[in-house]
Symmetry: C2
Subunit: 509 residues, 2 copies
């Protein structure tokens, strides 16, 4: 009985997962290869797939199978129980929301994407505002259908972090905020000078050379090209399955580190996807756990490896090959340039490891206020600019480099931004555990050997898919519940040393 | 009543059409951009979409709406009636075939594609044979579900030519066969020597230069890049909607005409797709009529324009720009090289306008014999090679350049090949009508002006989508039923003049 219901449940879910993967391919195509006038048809296609997936997830076949398994599911294995748990969660959420609303959200996203692209190019927030307004309304409506009694933002956050409570999230964010604000103050007070213009002073870097470097670095890190590719996109992202996980980046002629670190970042995402089980494809155990775990993988590769002193021993010679003008740089100068804390950067994706989280906190506070109705969409540019002044001491001159810089709100993703900071905290906790487990990890990195760390991540995180809930996954991998403690230790040590600070963030005498 | 049923029918069909367009995007990606190991997941995704589209097309919602409209559909407009006619045809065919068979065919196709690619690369027919065998069996089963009383090949042909009977098709093919066999004999007997090695004698042509030329030519012909793109694929094809119709080609370093004419050919297909009505997107009136009409568009551009003497006035200077080694060629030499009748070409897609149809007749005869059970799959290479010897006087040395050369059977498409010859015949009939209507068409082409011919095709063919059945569409556009008569006149005049033949294909004294 329960065996039959379980089989039915998995078959139906397989169909849904495949449709969702098809949506991802269409979305990759839209951002990477689709001609500019293709939007109306693509919007309709994505909306149709969204409706079909929603119909399948809310179908009585699933409801009946879940009901049978609720009564008779004790004999299932632990993996089967985890599978049922994940499908039940998605089914419950989907049934709460009318199909028409799902289709409308998908259609709005698809339309808003190209509007956002033009609005950003033209620095025209007013063009984008109606779409953001619509997204806010649709998101409120969405949360209301799921649970009208709770803070709608808490409900929306669960779209991306199904197993972390808003309280848990806020405790992590609080630790980050309380650590970084005095630390960044101390850094600004520090008289230590890093080689901040090591790269920018060496002229320009052609996109073709940058791309060649990114390809070399991906190969060095162990990216399996037979299951991947590198392309450019206005907003870098990764997409895929364990069979085919792609990386995108973008190029800025004056800043070779931008494309490099975005490539390494997306490589981390892609490696998570590639590390999922082929055999569990189109089941919850073959899917990523959630966004914080996904982001922990990209951050770990980008920051803990890519921005480490050890990695620059490998990276700088590769850079020299593609950019002869960097021949005169020392590894230390390059390392410093890659880790400078910016005083005047307005763009989240160009931010350093520390100020990055202030960019996130600003977005988080604005979107919470939008959902709560505390501010209007029309006020977003002003609020944004004020918060940048307050937190970062800088003020955007245009909305293009202000509140229009990110793609997320054009997708209607509200509750997404905090997952970036959660990911950083989680990356630190995982990397500390990996260092415990792999004695000479730092020397391996300096020697260009990444097999052990890839294997550790695959074994402890990737292969499990959504087998464990988030905190359990982190406990299994690291021995402790998820906190920002390891992140605090990491940034304190690294930036204390770079900027000559003592433990209490005083400038060391 | 009928209004409601009509609306319901269209809404349901829109969903189906969008899913099918999503399938096309996934398939384009598989052939153009997907990493090599992506096949298992892509197979599952395409199969899931195929099942979903099939479910939707056979759904009671459609059956009920069609039933209502059968009784109460008299008040519908002509366009609405055409819409209902087309959906009814598809619904009827789909309901006859079990969903499991459709899914199996789709899965077999997707698996067979990569097997075929390797088999062709390795010249290993045995590796591909089990897939071809499976396709033959599945196709027989498919035809049997639709109508067990008829020749299964006639039933399969309707998959691609829903409105042309096998009798009509055979009468066109017979005329082509009876014209071409004596004509090709006469050409071989002719002592006229064309400048056949005009291009091949000039060294090699880099893929990058060939691509640049193809892009220039597409621009000259009027390809709207904001709705299209050019990529490479192992077997060139086009894909899309009126919003986004893409062209692919492939490069051979010794033969710049190959990529050029395949690009112009796929341009013709893409222009048909782009000429469909945006407003009718995701309805039958926004879809191509059938494969012969599609092929007539590619053939018209490739042969009647691309291989015309007039076009070489425009083309040769563009070629000279990209290939300085062609500077010494005259327009006449280039024209002759582009129209030589090959004596030793084994590859269909490299064939000239005349022998091409013998390549088609061979495939048509083999696939009819396979479906009829007159030959086994294991015999295909031997039968293939014998027929090449008999019809073309040449024998492939490998299966890679023999029966493995085409992608079609890997897709399980049986009944598809004849549509190429039908397309050529139809192209000739349409081009003759366009010449009647556009007095100075030839001079316009020589002057590089293609607006009038694009407009004529858009008005007389593209904009109608599936409004008219095939023969009616051709009658509306040309004033006559579809025959091979115009094709006979066209080849008689063109090749008679090139090879100095009289009307009865005797070598002129």
């Amino acid at each position: 009985m329960s065996g039959d219901a379980y089989t039915t449940l998995c078959e139906q879910y397989e169909q849904i997962a495949n449709i969702q993967h098809a949506q991802s391919v269409l979305s990759w195509d839209q951002q990477v290869t689709m001609p500019e006038d293709g939007t109306p048809a693509r919007t309709a296609q994505l909306s149709a797939l969204s409706t079909v997936a929603h119909d399948a997830l809310t179908d009585d076949v699933i409801a009946d199978a879940l009901e049978t398994l609720r009564a008779n599911g004790e004999s299932l294995s632990a993996d089967e129980k985890a599978t049922v748990r994940e499908i039940r969660r998605k089914h419950k959420r989907a049934t709460a929301v009318p199909e028409s609303l799902v289709a409308e959200m998908s259609e709005t996203s698809s339309e808003a994407l190209s509007v956002w692209e033009s609005a950003r190019a033209d620095d025209d927030f007013d063009a984008f505002a109606p779409y953001l307004q619509r997204h806010v309304e649709l998101n409120r409506e969405y949360a209301d259908h799921i649970d009208p009694t709770r803070d709608p933002y808490a409900v929306l956050l669960e779209e991306f972090e199904p197993c972390l409570s808003l309280d848990h999230v806020e405790s992590v964010l609080r630790t980050i905020r309380e650590t970084l604000i005095p630390m960044i103050d101390a850094i600004r007070a520090s008289e230590t000078t890093l080689a901040t213009d090591a790269f920018t002073a060496q002229g320009t870097y052609s996109p073709a050379d940058q791309e060649a470097l990114c390809r070399d670095v991906l190969t060095t890190l162990g990216y399996p090209w037979e299951r991947g590719r590198l392309d450019t996109a206005p907003h870098p992202f990764s997409m895929g399955t364990s069979f085919d996980a792609r990386v995108t980046t973008r190029f800025n002629e004056t800043d070779p580190l931008g494309s490099l670190f975005s490539t390494i970042h997306e490589f981390g995402h892609a490696m998570y996807t590639l590390g999922l089980s082929d055999d569990a494809y189109a089941t919850p155990l073959g899917e990523d756990r959630d966004l914080s775990v996904h982001e922990s993988q990209s951050r770990l590769w980008e920051n803990h490896i890519g921005r480490s002193r050890a990695f620059w021993d490998v990276l700088l010679p590769q850079m020299n090959k593609h950019f002869p003008q960097t021949d005169t740089l020392s590894v230390n100068e390059a390392y410093e340039a890659a880790n400078q804390v910016y005083e005047d950067n307005l763009i989240r994706v160009n931010a350093d490891e520390l100020t990055y989280h202030l960019h996130i906190l600003i977005r988080y506070e604005i979107e919470r206020a939008l959902i709560a109705g505390d501010i209007d969409v029309a006020e977003v540019p002003a609020v944004w600019n004020e918060k940048y002044e307050e937190y970062l001491g800088i003020r955007p001159e245009t909305d293009a480099e202000g509140c229009l810089q990110d793609i997320h709100w054009s997708h209607g993703n509200i509750g997404y931004f905090p997952t970036y900071s959660l990911g950083s905290a989680m990356a630190a906790q995982l990397y500390a555990a990996a260092e415990e487990s792999i004695a000479d990890l730092d020397s391996q990195i300096a020697a260009g050997s990444f097999d052990k760390i890839r294997e550790w991540l695959q074994t402890n995180i990737h292969q499990h898919g959504a087998r464990y809930e988030t905190n359990e996954l982190i406990k299994q991998a690291t021995g402790s519940s998820f906190t920002a403690d390891a992140f605090v230790s990491y940034v304190t040590e690294k930036y204390g040393s770079l900027y000559n600070l003592d433990q209490d963030f005083h400038v060391a005498k």
